[in-house]
């Protein structure tokens, strides 16, 4: 029942939950900030891209672990 493929699937599934929520929160706050102050849009956008990259990196760690489990 609990075989290797299930563990690999669960690794990437559970590992992407938190980054997905984090990216949603980051972008929503950035949009709020842009809506409040449209002149600072490009500054806010730069910082947002940075924040999204940090959050996405966590999901990529989970993906790399899943790939290692599957292919090594």
């Amino acid at each position: 029942m609990i075989n290797d493929n299930l563990i690999v699937g669960l690794t990437i599934t559970v590992g992407s939950l938190a980054p997905a929520i984090a990216i949603g929160m980051i972008v929503s706050k950035a949009l709020e900030a842009i809506g409040r102050n449209p002149e600072a849009a490009s500054k806010v956008q730069t910082v947002m891209i940075l924040g999204v990259a940090f959050a996405e990196a966590i999901a990529i760690y989970a993906l790399v672990v899943a790939l290692i489990l599957k292919f090594v």
Partner: protein, 241 residues
Amino acid sequence: MASLNISISAEPIFHLGNFAFTNSMFVSLLTTVFLSLVAIRFYRFHKSKKPSKLNLFIQVIIESFYEFVQTITPHKASQFFPLIASIFLFVMFASWAGLLPGVETIGFRNSHGFIPLFRGGTADINITMGTAIAAVFMVQVFGYKSLGIKYFKKFFDFSNPIKLFVGFLELVSEFARIVSFSFRLFGNIFAGEVLLMVIAFLLPLFGPLPFIGLELFIGFIQALVFSTLTLVFISIAVSHH
């Protein structure tokens, strides 16, 4: 059904003694040679003032990237720009090299199975970790250049125990940045290659088209993120506390 050849570590194409020269290293070498040749041609046409459309195109890219660097470090952009632009261009073209026709498909067979001759430059953890170590090392170099020996007092602050602990955490976080840089880039690009291989198996010929577009975008974004994060860390290291 034939099995997919997915190997998480880049396959060596030949060995120099104990050193394995992998297919990703080969593609990174070709990328560096390509970028150098483009730079040499730009310089020659620039010096002789000959008209050239390629020069104008390259100037557009370089100048818009310079303005982008200026938005993050307004005053010292010219000091940091060569490193940041080199990281950006190398990572972008090495990641895009994994999308060319013939990469991961043309190869030879030996005792270890099928060895592709080419593989995306940044799809090898060696290349990404090397670039990450170089970037974090250059952050320290710029910090030392602008603050002198006082820069290293950031990590070893003996005034009180809390600051000592915080300094130690900062030291650990420098090493964590190396791991984070390399795995972010490697994970994105390698996952993209796996995705393309699997989609090519499921929907041959036209299925991978939108995913190649996605990979172009991801290669650009990851190059931008790598160089921007390096620039942000440099600007933090250079600023006085």
